[in-house]
């Protein structure tokens, strides 16, 4: 794409959005900024779920369609621990660990034996998702659980223009940024992160350099799955936990990752932001067609960049 074309693209996309935003601010500034903050909260959640998903795909080329189930499982376990101990932090830890353990088991028991057979792995994860969804329905029933965020971030903060906004949601945003930066630091600056990045680019060469690839795979899978479980607890505190959330978050991460580019954590952040904005603004300003906006974004992204915004040729 030449520079002029790029500029044209930005103008074509940006001008209508800017115009609509100005109109919306002039019309009802509070609604606009509340929606904006809601979008950012949702984007944070989507980022947490999708970053684990994209990490696992990036390294292992394994589309784990049971990722949403890990989200829900982490949320349920976190809820139980939170109820028992009364500690939200422990709930988060439990959510992360439980999902990480399940992910590790899946990797060791199943995926290790079908390396390179992507479609079979995908099908197997679909089967696992069906079974897990039903098992969780069996254990935890169809009730809707919510649990309270810790007292120190419970309540609302007064912000300019918005008046009142739940503190917890702001904390989620800050937390997601922190986790995103942590993940970036882990991938870019540590030895394990280096191995993971090398594995994304060339699995065979990583193995040939004498690194235990299976171990790297297991660690990545556990981290990716754990992220889903952690997001489950965070999301369960901001919104709620019920059967069906697994598909919702699976699809959200799919769309985020398609838009952002598979295997890229930065792409997951961009994708999550776009989808979060589209969903919440759609919901606020055009409720009937909110999902269609998400779809339009996906189509546009695929039309111009078939591998996603940050995607690179495999």
């Amino acid at each position: 794409m030449s520079r002029n074309q790029k500029l044209a693209t930005w103008l074509v996309l940006g001008l209508p959005i800017a115009a609509l935003s100005l109109w919306a601010i002039a019309d009802n500034a509070r609604l606009y900024f509340t929606t904006l903050l809601n979008s950012l909260t949702l984007a944070s959640l989507y980022f947490l779920v999708a970053s684990g998903f994209t990490l696992v795909f990036g390294l292992m080329r394994n589309v784990n369609l049971a990722h949403g189930s890990l989200y829900l499982f982490g949320a349920y376990v976190g809820w139980m621990v939170g109820e028992q101990t009364g500690s939200w932090v422990l709930a988060v830890v439990a959510g992360f660990l439980s999902a990480a353990v399940v992910g590790l088991l899946l990797q060791v028991v199943i995926f290790r034996h079908m390396q390179g057979q992507d479609l079979r792995q995908t099908l197997v994860t679909i089967g696992i998702a069906i079974v897990l969804a039903d098992l969780m329905l069996w254990i935890w029933g169809a009730e809707i659980y919510t649990f309270d965020p810790p007292a120190w971030i419970y309540g609302s903060t007064a912000l300019p223009l918005v008046e009142k906004f739940p503190t917890y949601r702001i904390a989620v945003l800050v937390g997601a940024i922190a986790i995103g930066l942590g993940l970036w630091w882990f991938l870019a600056r540590t030895r394990v992160g280096m191995m993971i990045r090398a594995g994304v680019d060339d699995r065979g060469m990583l193995a040939a350099s004498g690194i235990n690839v299976q171990l790297v795979f297991a660690v990545t899978f556990a981290i990716g799955a754990g992220m889903a479980g952690l997001a489950g607890v965070v999301g369960g505190s901001a919104l709620s936990i019920s059967p069906g959330e697994d598909t919702r978050y699976l699809l959200a991460s799919l769309v985020v990752v398609i838009v952002g580019g598979m295997g890229s954590v930065g792409g997951a952040a961009i994708g999550a932001l776009l989808i979060g904005l589209a969903e919440q603004f759609g919901l606020a300003y055009a409720p009937t067609y909110s999902v269609v906006f998400t779809f339009v974004i996906m189509v546009l992204a695929l039309a111009f960049r078939p591998r996603g915004i940050m995607g690179r040729p495999a």
Binding site: G127, I130, V131, L251, T288, V292, L302
Partner: protein, 372 residues
């Protein structure tokens, strides 16, 4: 991962497993009392088992009660037709689309919108044949558009984008009240009465689905041996080579989506007549994945797999409930699906061919060993 690798992983050479017997047009002199050569050639392809199965299918309503005829028979055949579209697309085109139920659902919705339903405010009340024709044509166009969009992607990306398209359409149908009547959907969509035959009755409806299923089955059988089908399998196995041979890879893929869309649309019309209703729930994520489950359960490298899978699925759906409680149905179907995917990549039909090969049947089929 290369595109060829995952395709191999999926269908261990549907084409290479069964080299299409080249018809040898050797004109043999007709001996006294012998059949004409074209009939002989036909006869060579039709074995005893084909005749037995066909007879069994035709006589089925005579021995089964109306529950078995309608609930099991007709439903399996209609679902099988939708699954067949996925088998064609996935097995022969190498593109696994999860949006086939969406195409079927759209056809069902269009029948309700153009034809008659309990909602006089939306339904246009056209004669059934016009409504069905429009529904099938529009749903096929929609499938072509889905294909045009998703052929930009490969392998797993295709699964994801079609899944996303399907879910987007599900939400659209659920939230739109002016056209799709939102969450409620449409009720009282009945099959027509033609020439005094009421297709609402179990047996005529069974024969209607059977006719459509057989037509779809033989259509796919013939198509995969026609130049288009052979080229499509070439595109599946090595798109780059096909491209350099001068084939338009994208056009072949989009055309495959169109053909699959046609099959799914017919299946969708049958399903909406079977259920007498359509709502977003008919094509939610669960329904979309069910089609994949059916196709994989039966085996994606042969058209018959779709119907075998559908029959097993419908039987499980109806009778697994007697073994476990109703809520645990998904556990059973998920477990069966998982077991099949883990142990027999070619589905139930694959188990059957393996058994035959082991028992040393004459026409034992050699499937290339997959790399472990």
């Amino acid at each position: 991962m290369s595109a060829a690798q995952w395709r191999n992983a999926m269908n261990s050479g549907a084409a290479s497993a069964r080299p299409a017997p080249l018809a040898t047009p050797v004109a043999e002199p007709l001996a006294h009392g012998e059949l004409p050569s074209w009939l002989q050639r036909l006869g060579r392809h039709i074995g005893v088992r084909h005749v037995v199965v066909l007879l069994a299918l035709l006589l089925y309503p005579a021995v089964a009660n109306s529950f078995f005829t309608f609930q099991i028979g007709a439903q399996s055949l209609a679902l099988g037709l939708v699954a067949l579209s996925l088998t064609f697309l996935g097995g022969y085109g190498g593109m696994v689309s999860l949006a086939q139920m969406t195409v079927a659902g759209l056809a069902g919705y269009l029948v309700a919108i153009f034809g008659s339903s309990s909602l006089a405010a939306i339904s246009l009340g056209w004669p059934w044949w016009l409504a069905v024709a429009f529904a099938i044509v529009l749903a096929t166009l929609f499938a072509t558009a889905v294909g045009w969009l998703s052929v930009r992607t490969e392998g797993i990306y295709t699964i994801m984008i079609t899944l996303a398209i399907g879910v987007a359409f599900f939400y659209l149908a659920q939230q739109n009240y002016t056209l799709f009547n939102g969450f409620q959907g449409f009720n009282k969509i009945f099959p027509p009465k033609v020439l005094g035959i009421d297709f609402r009755a179990a047996t005529p409806f069974y024969y209607l689905t059977l006719a459509c299923a057989l037509a779809g089955y033989f259509f796919v059988k013939l198509l995969v041996r026609a130049p288009f089908g052979v080229a499509l399998q070439g595109v599946r196995d090595n798109p780059r080579r096909m491209h350099s041979l001068g084939f338009n890879v994208t056009a072949h893929r989009v055309a495959a989506y169109a053909v699959a869309g046609l099959l799914a649309a017919v299946g969708g019309v049958l399903l909406v007549w079977y259920n007498n209703r359509i709502s977003p729930g008919s094509m939610n994520t669960g329904a979309m994945i069910n089609i994949l489950v059916i196709a994989v359960l039966g085996g994606m490298n042969r058209p018959i797999g779709a119907f075998v899978g559908a029959l097993v699925f419908v039987l499980l759906q109806n009778f697994a409930i007697d073994l476990v409680s109703r809520e645990r149905f998904n556990l059973v179907i998920g477990g069966v699906f998982l077991a099949i995917v883990l142990f027999s990549p070619n589905g139930l039909v694959g188990i059957w061919t393996q058994l035959r090969a082991r028992l040393g049947a004459r026409k034992a089929i050699h499937t290339p060993r997959r790399q472990q």
